[in-house]
């Protein structure tokens, strides 16, 4: 972790259009929660909103914006050369950028999920806490994947968008079998004990067991971070010959 890299990353991540998107998405969630509550929401609606929108759509999109945004634009415009031409290990650069992205997704994704859960259920109970935890760990895993994607390809945003919307939102929710390969399902599995009986009664189940979910989340996040660090050591900065 390097404080200067973190500061520079946070500064560019929280500026311009990216900041607008990062703010707009959780605002939509909170507005929906308030409206639903005003119309007399029950726990089923809370599960639909927290699981179907917050965890399945909001968090992957925020992970995409923060993960790719933490390093992709610098690679695209070449300004990453100012980090790479320093006596800093590439792993430090990648890990720092990842941590900043995770912090951003926690603040703009997991925290609003918690607040929306409280608004929808009227209490700081199993649903609010469980989905907030799932959102936090899923957000971290998405960030790791999308940081890697941004280091690997200049088309990270497009590929990431297809992954976030098609795989995680549609396949991850509705296609059995494929669900076992969804970050969303792994994080739900991890949050299973927190969701507890309330979750089970409402039919909130994960496609994988708790320990498998934790193992897969860790494996994907660590492997993605490791590969991103390796790749950054050999990244080509210029297209000119």
């Amino acid at each position: 972790m390097n404080a200067t890299v973190a500061r520079l990353t946070a500064r560019s991540l929280l500026a311009g259009r990216r900041a607008v998107l990062l703010t707009a998405l959780p605002v939509v969630l909170l507005v929906l929660a308030v409206v639903a509550r005003a119309l007399g929401a029950d726990d089923d609606l809370a599960v639909t909103l927290l699981g179907g929108f917050a965890l399945a759509t909001l968090v992957p999109l925020l992970g995409l914006i923060a993960g790719t945004g933490s390093i992709g634009p610098e690679i695209d415009d070449g300004s990453i050369v100012y980090l790479l031409s320093k006596p800093l290990s590439r792993d430090t650069i990648v890990v720092t950028k990842l941590l900043v992205a995770v912090a951003v997704v926690t603040v703009f994704g997991a925290l609003p999920t918690l607040v929306a859960g409280v608004v929808l259920t009227g209490e700081l109970g199993a649903l609010a806490l469980g989905y907030a935890l799932a959102a936090a760990v899923a957000g971290a895993a998405y960030c790791a994947l999308f940081v890697l994607l941004a280091v690997l390809t200049r088309n990270a945003v497009v590929i990431g968008l297809v992954y976030a919307l098609v795989w995680e939102t549609v396949v991850g929710q509705f296609v059995p079998g494929a669900q076992a390969l969804s970050v969303q399902q792994w994080s739900l599995a991890l949050a299973g004990p927190v969701l507890g009986d309330t979750g089970r009664e409402l039919g909130v189940t994960a496609a994988v067991g708790g320990s498998v979910g934790v193992a897969l989340l860790l494996a994907v996040a660590l492997a993605a971070t490791f590969v991103a660090g390796r790749r950054l050591r050999t990244i080509r900065l210029t297209s000119d010959l």
């Binding site: 415009d77 300004s79 050369v81 100012y82 320093k86 210029t238 010959l241």
Partner: protein, 315 residues
């Protein structure tokens, strides 16, 4: 005193050979890396700066490989050609961030000194996005100088600068070179290299074409065969007279594109290849006068830098 050494370095991208078997040593003082656009100068600088792996050969700084060696950046300052910086920050913040990234003991003092050297202290509080091209170039210089490196690599530093900014940068780089730093800058403009570099490395089409002082390179360029296009009142007679004297290796009667067809004998121009340029230039008016031929035009045909480079490669 630091020395960069490239030993039989090649770099290819797929089927394209960008740098082809280059061996050169860059020592203290200012060295100009001269070559036309697309010659492989940026690739060479990226290789020297440790941003590209050589496909073959080795690049070392004081005997230490630069590739995959992050510690080498304690001794290298790099001024990239691209302008992108962290636009949301001020010049001061940006240079200070670079000092901190180098983990210097007193980053504030280092940033102040670097901004002072490039004469950007007064504008340091402004956002880098508001800077002119020359100011950006100077702030880039400050980031490269902030850790006081013995080696400075600059990729096309004069691009887009106005004459006053150019002069400032020339002075700055000259001072650095005189202080014993190893300064290497790339350029495709002969005059830039001429005013600044004590040593020149010429690259053309990825190959190391020549090296030495500006005088030595200029000599090579002057001694090459020169082509002239000559239009006269009687090209055929002039061709015979010119060919008869020793400074010329070939004469061709030619019809230049778009030229006026004014010559009496139907041809329109002579293409003369002179082996001794000054001999030919002195002899031509005398020959024309002796034979009563009027000279309409004498144009050196291949004075472009590309043709000079091409000659150096073929040599």
């Amino acid at each position: 005193m630091s020395v960069l050494e490239l030993a039989q370095v090649s770099r290819w991208f797929g089927n394209v050979v960008a740098v082809n078997d280059v061996t050169m040593t860059i020592g203290p003082g200012v060295t100009g890396l001269l070559g036309p656009n697309g010659a492989g100068k940026s690739t060479l600088i990226n290789l020297m700066g440790g941003f590209l792996a050589p496909s073959a050969g080795t690049v070392t700084l004081d005997g230490e490989p630069v590739w995959r060696n992050e510690q080498v950046y304690r001794r290298i300052g790099l001024v990239p050609e691209r302008e992108a910086m962290y636009d949301g920050v001020s010049g001061w913040d940006f240079v200070l961030a670079n000092a901190r990234l180098h983990q210097l003991p007193d980053p504030e003092a280092a940033a102040r000194r670097a901004l002072d050297v490039v004469e950007m202290t007064a504008a340091a509080d402004r956002g880098v996005a508001t800077y002119s091209k020359g100011m950006k170039q100077r702030v880039k210089m400050a980031t490269a100088l902030v850790h006081d490196p013995p080696v400075l690599l600059l990729d096309e530093p004069f691009n887009g600068m106005d004459p006053r900014q150019r002069l400032q940068l020339v002075e700055l780089l000259r001072t650095m070179g005189e202080a014993g730093r190893t300064v290497l800058f790339s350029s495709h403009i002969l005059e830039e290299v001429e005013v600044l570099a004590s040593s020149i490395q010429v690259v053309v089409a990825g190959r190391h074409a020549a090296s030495g002082s500006f005088h030595a390179i200029r000599q090579l360029m002057t001694e090459r065969p020169h082509q002239y296009t000559v239009r006269s009142g009687d090209d055929r007679a002039l061709a015979a007279a010119v060919m008869a004297q020793g400074s010329v290796s070939s004469v061709e009667l030619a019809v230049p594109e778009g030229a006026a067809t004014g010559a009496r004998d139907g041809t329109t121009a002579l293409r003369v290849q002179a082996t001794d340029r000054s001999g030919f230039v002195r002899a031509l008016p005398r020959l024309a006068s002796d034979h009563g031929i009027r000279l309409y035009e004498v144009t050196p045909a291949d004075e472009s830098l590309e043709s000079v480079f091409a000659y150096l490669v073929e040599r």
